[in-house]
């Protein structure tokens, strides 16, 4: 199963509706490579938000239960008592504290995905937290064109550390337009300057998508970011953005960057192929 990733700015939007949920009485299946320690992974299913609100008794936490090998075979019945009569996150905390061998994990983290794989990956949680903090605190910073700031340094460092995962989380923040446009613009200008081929595609996607932002400030920054990225693959998305752009000055900026790419010797696009 796949777990929807956290993809919002505020804690309030980490609602149960996007968390997988395990309902009381529901059967689950364990699945572990043969030979691993005794244990079982809880495969939880997703419950809708409205059910959660109505019943108030759904567990929205995924965890992997691992028994210590020395504890012998997995017992057929495990009973855990808890004090809190409301079935909630605190129940899980009690569950975990009662049995030290229960370690919270997601079922996705046990696999190393191939670079060419497309299955949705569990991203390190700290990326979301760090980026959220970074974007929130940056609202108080003053940005000057081309000047490094604490924000830009931290952002680049995050991308260098976490690669595509960091860019994808940033994408979710920017696309949901919950980031201050000034901060989003600064981020877009800087991600175009990062020299890292492994994140080129994801940065290109975010910059291209931002050409269609509702904020003209963000669209302007996306143009600058694309100019810095200097990747002729942006030709098609620039052409589409030019057709939609209603601010003359911005459209001219886009055309200028488009010409920059077309001028790159020998590169043009026909039938979606670089020629």
């Amino acid at each position: 199963m796949t777990f929807p990733s956290e993809s919002s700015v505020g804690d309030e939007s980490r609602s149960a509706s996007f968390y997988p949920t395990l309902m009381s009485g529901q059967r689950f299946w364990s699945e572990l490579p043969f030979g691993r320690r005794h244990g079982y992974a809880v495969h939880v299913t997703q419950g809708p938000a409205e059910e959660h609100a109505e019943k108030g008794n759904m567990l929205f936490y995924d965890f992997l239960v691992l028994l210590d090998p020395s504890s012998g075979p997995l017992p057929s019945v495990v009973t855990v008592s808890f004090k809190d009569p409301t079935f909630s996150q605190s129940t899980v905390s009690q569950l975990i504290s009662t049995f030290s061998w229960i370690s919270p994990q997601t079922s996705k983290s046990s696999h190393e995905e191939a670079a060419s794989a497309t299955v949705e990956r569990e991203r390190p949680k700290e990326i979301h937290e760090n980026l959220h903090t970074l974007l929130s605190e940056a609202r108080d910073e003053l940005f000057e064109d081309g000047m490094e700031t604490n924000f830009s340094k931290a952002l680049i460092s995050l991308i260098q550390c976490y690669g595509n995962d960091a860019v994808e989380v940033l994408t979710e923040f920017v696309v949901s337009e919950q980031v201050n446009p000034e901060v989003a613009s600064e981020a877009l200008r800087w991600i175009g300057r990062v020299e890292d081929l492994s994140t080129q595609q994801s940065r290109l996607w975010l910059l291209g998508r931002s050409l269609f932002s509702a904020s003209s400030r963000v669209r302007d920054a996306a143009v600058l970011g694309l100019a810095s990225l200097n990747d002729p693959e942006a030709v098609l998305v620039l052409e589409a953005a030019i057709r939609r752009e209603h601010i003359d000055e911005l459209r001219q900026d886009m055309e200028q960057v488009l010409n920059q790419f077309r001028d790159i010797s020998g590169v043009s696009f026909e039938n979606n192929k670089k020629v």
Partner: protein, 260 residues
């Protein structure tokens, strides 16, 4: 000269049961996806459950389909259709949680996806993927490893004294769909899984977990996808051919094992 034991024959591909099927489309940056009606258009009725977060550009819909549970998940970076066992299929204690045989399930799922990618409202996409998790029940771990050996000619697996075996490989091939620069990734991961059904009963002051019997199964995870480095969007008129190609590559791996 030491006697080299002959690996078991590969059984028919229909010994493999489907735990889940997934089709993923990665929209291009300029794709405008506003309140899509794909579920209703394809299934013919509204979803049984729907969760929407318009600000975050997220929509999830799910309902019964072909005996299993179908889910549509839309996010800015990707759109996933997933077919997995229905709640009733998951309630089975003595059978693996699967939706059916690989050939039947793949055909039904592919037909659904083909209708979607041919629809007017299908967005421009940069990349598509067909993924599946397949299970082939075996008696025990050793038999599972022996069976896997038949699918992995490049691997010498000591079936008697091994555990925790997992083999993942990508065998990319050039697409024959008519797009000269398109490469298809053929990612497969092979292992033997130990599975147990269980249930959790929640009382006012207790959580009780009841576990069923153990099941062993060869596990094959496939992720057949168009490579990320393709420039621009995949031509709309070529998508059905590419989808068939992905399915065909998947079936070949199920039939022939890990071959270049």
């Amino acid at each position: 000269m030491a006697n080299k034991r002959k690996p078991p024959e590969r059984p028919s591909q229909d010994i493999w049961q489907v735990e889940s099927l997934r089709f993923t489309a990665f929209p291009t940056p300029d794709a405008q996806i506003e309140e899509p009606t794909w579920w209703k258009d394809l299934i013919g009725e509204p979803a049984e459950r729907k969760v929407s977060a318009p600000k975050r550009r997220i929509l999830q819909e799910e309902g019964a389909f072909s005996g299993g549970k179908l889910m549509l998940s839309i996010q800015p970076l990707r759109i996933d259709w997933t077919l997995s066992p229905s709640p009733s299929q998951q309630q089975e204690l003595d059978a693996l949680p699967t939706i059916g045989l690989v050939s039947d399930s793949l055909r039904v799922f592919s037909e659904l996806i083909e209708r979607w990618i041919q629809s007017e409202s299908f967005p421009p996409v940069k990349r598509i993927a067909l993924g599946t998790i397949l299970l082939h029940p075996v008696e025990n771990g050793k038999q599972g490893y022996e069976q896997l050996s038949a699918y992995l000619p490049a691997i010498q697996l000591d079936t008697e004294h091994s555990s925790d075996f997992s083999y993942q490989i990508n065998r990319p091939r050039a697409s024959v769909s008519g797009l000269a620069d398109l490469k298809i990734n053929r990612v497969s991961r092979w292992s033997v899984a130990l599975m147990r059904a269980g249930s959790i009963a929640v009382g006012p002051q207790t959580v009780e977990s009841v576990m069923g019997r153990e099941h062993f199964a060869c596990r094959l995870e496939l992720d057949i996808n168009t490579a990320a480095d393709f420039a621009g969007s995949l031509p709309r008129e070529r998508l059905p051919a590419i989808l068939h190609e992905l399915a065909s590559f998947g079936e070949e791996i199920v039939r022939e094992g890990d071959v270049p």
